[in-house]
């Protein structure tokens, strides 16, 4: 903000707390109105696909971190660490997804993610620059002077990749990398387009999208944009290469979904298609019904069509044991699997709209009607786990981990008002439920038998008698058995 009489005057115009409360209350009822929105009002353009794919990157399947609990393996479903599978540790981390941001408050820090025993955060006392710290408050380390754009970090080969918020404000996207110890910061590449985002880092290549500004559509209800370019560039910033030429006309979209075993899986709207029909998912996302799904070798030598997408959009998860698991958001949404070449399509469970699925030890985990479910990879034994309510779109990836025969998760109890949350656990066979922290607003991570989380704000009363939530400048830890809760001050 520039400093002059105008900015100081307009700075005095603020939304009142009463107003914010009223809007939040009313907005909470809004999803029920999705059905009232005629599909024709939405422009023909794959919106769900991009949002879903972002989520896909976030939650790419299953991995394990052995030994964190004194020999008892902790198996984290969401994208906290890729140890078991390659991808060169490239993934969206816990909390790096924008929806994982905590409420605006007066904390001196803003958690970005938790990884390998480090808490990565923005230091508000140091111009929002990037820091990491042990969750016990020790070994505080400054990693970069940069403010991280959209709180997204990408880890690969001992480096942290990110786009700087400053470059965004300058009208472009500049990506840097810095070693995990905070040394060696260097610019990797720059794109002049406003919206550019990394999707994967694999085998020394960064796979990324460019959203061309020409795609921004002026419409009565706001902006939209589509991905017009999918590229790869070496992690040293050389050899920028266009991945495919499938769709580059206005409103066409190409979307990298997976990079696995030398293949790039992507969706594409084909140039010149007309009469695209859209529907609206229960979560409010647009579902394009004419988006095809392809796999192309990373060297471009071979390309196959996985699915014509005529019946609905797909959410692709990872390839596990030779099967590509996905959710088909067509007329009757369902959890499916197919071979990576598109053959042997098999339905595992019906009425599944989850945008997150994880495959572990012969079971597929997913959310269904805002509940945690699992079904065998052979399609048998579908069952609900626990009683918590889950966000169908984004919650699982950052709020679920498994250890010692229990699934631990962060959820919203039905009886609690927002923003109250609990950290609970359920036997992996669904036979027993327990709560081990009832005062959480965000699950951070698990380390050495401790679960770390952000606590609930303190409820206070304003001068006019309104409820005010005040956040504390600390995080909490509790033993995985629910005992010995401690507050950690930074």
């Amino acid at each position: 903000m520039k400093n002059n009489r105008y900015t100081r005057a307009i700075d005095g115009v603020r939304a009142t707390e009463e107003f914010k409360e009223r809007v939040i209350e009313r907005a909470a009822e809004a999803p029920a109105r999705f059905a009232e929105i005629p599909a024709k009002k939405k422009r023909p353009f794959v919106k769900w696909g991009f949002a879903g794919t972002l989520a896909a990157v976030v939650m790419l399947a299953v991995f394990s971190v052995p030994g964190l609990l004194g020999g008892e393996p902790v198996i984290k479903l969401p994208g906290v660490a890729h140890v078991e599978r390659p991808f060169e540790d490239s993934f969206y981390l816990n909390g790096c997804f924008p929806s994982g941001a905590i409420y605006i408050d007066n904390r001196d820090f803003d958690v970005i993610c938790f990884r390998d025993g480090w808490l990565y955060y923005e230091n508000r006392l140091d111009k929002d620059s990037l820091y990491k710290i042990r969750p016990d408050g020790t070994e505080k380390t400054k990693l970069s002077n940069d403010k991280i754009r959209d709180k997204r970090l990408y880890f690969a080969d001992g480096w942290i990749y990110y786009a700087s918020a400053a470059s965004l404000m300058a009208g472009g996207s500049t990506f840097y990398k810095v070693r995990e110890d905070g040394t060696g910061r260097i610019q990797v590449f720059h794109e002049t387009e406003y919206y550019t985002g990394i999707k994967f880092i694999s085998d020394g290549w960064i796979y990324y999208h460019i959203m061309n500004d020409e795609i921004i559509i002026l419409e009565s209800d706001g902006l939209s944009y589509g991905i017009t370019g999918a590229y790869k560039i070496r992690t040293d910033g050389t050899e920028k290469t266009k991945i495919t030429d499938d769709a580059y006309e206005a409103h066409d979209e190409i979307n990298i979904l997976l990079v696995e075993d030398g293949w790039i899986y992507y969706s594409a709207r084909i140039s010149g298609q007309t009469n695209i029909i859209f529907s609206i998912s229960p979560q409010g996302g647009l579902i394009a019904e004419s988006t095809a799904y392809y796999a192309v070798r990373t060297d471009g030598t071979e390309k196959i069509m996985l699915h014509d997408g005529k019946d609905g959009a797909l959410f692709l998860s990872r390839i596990v044991d030779g099967w590509l698991y996905y959710v088909d958001h067509g007329g009757s949404p369902k959890l499916c699997k197919m071979r990576p070449d598109g053959t042997e399509r098999t339905v595992l469970a019906n009425d599944v709209r989850s945008s997150e699925i994880y495959v572990l030890d012969g079971w597929v985990y997913y959310s269904k009607n805002a509940r945690l479910f699992r079904v065998g990879t052979d399609g048998t034994g579908e069952m609900q786990l626990g009683n918590g309510l889950f966000n169908n779109l984004y919650n699982l990836y950052e709020h679920v981990f498994i250890s010692d025969g229990w699934i631990h998760y962060y959820y919203q109890p039905e009886s609690f008002p927002n923003p109250m949350r609990e950290l609970g656990k359920t036997r992996i066979d669904g036979t027993e439920n327990a709560v081990f922290a009832d005062d959480a607003t965000r699950f951070i991570g698990v380390e050495d038998g401790w679960v770390y989380y952000l606590g609930q704000p303190t409820l206070k009363e304003s001068k006019n008698g309104k409820k005010v939530y005040v956040y504390q400048d600390s995080i909490y830890k509790v033993r995985i058995d629910g005992t010995d809760k401690q507050e950690i001050k930074f």
Binding site: N4, T7, G12, R22, A27, D150, G197, L223, N418
Partner: protein, 161 residues
């Protein structure tokens, strides 16, 4: 099952982070607190009805654009006054702020939005052009004219505490 839980965190986040910004833009366009609140409330309800936004920058740009449009729609309503003075009907505005708003009210609405995005939100001209859906030259022209007319205010002609 309460489907609204799906978006509760998101809307709370967005309201807490951007309610002030939306309110300022709405206030500049409508000229009074009541209309500004109506607009802001409708903007956030629209936000809940739309598909997920891809990142915070996009969400912010979307909110700005929708707020401007919503104000335009409000202006079109037959019960709206044709001219609305920006007379500082905000709660207990400082005298200096009243002066600024009075000067601001003399500008076309598009000029006000450009001024806000440039001086308060620190957007560049190309960014403002994208957000408002105008050509860069147009935005640049508006900014230049607005600067001339608000020269003293924008260039610290008179300081105040």
């Amino acid at each position: 099952m309460n489907e609204s839980l799906v978006h509760d965190d998101f809307i709370q986040n967005m309201v807490m982070q951007y309610a002030d910004m939306v309110m300022r833009i709405a206030f500049q366009n409508t000229g009074n607190q009541a209309d500004a609140e109506d607009v802001a409330q409708e903007v956030f309800l629209k936000l809940m009805r739309r598909p997920a936004l891809n990142d915070e920058a996009h969400a912010k740009a979307w909110l700005i654009r929708v707020t401007v449009n919503q104000c335009r729609d409000l202006k079109k309503s037959f019960w709206q006054r044709q001219t609305v003075p920006l007379s500082g009907q905000w709660r207990e505005p400082q005298p200096e702020a009243r002066e600024v708003f009075a000067e601001l009210a003399k500008l076309p609405r598009d000029y006000r939005n450009v001024i806000y995005l440039y001086y308060y939100e620190d957007y560049t001209v190309p960014e403002i052009a994208k957000i408002l859906g105008r050509k860069e030259n147009t935005v640049s022209s508006w900014l230049t004219r607005a600067r001339k007319r608000l020269k003293q205010i924008l260039e610290e002609g008179v300081d105040y505490i």
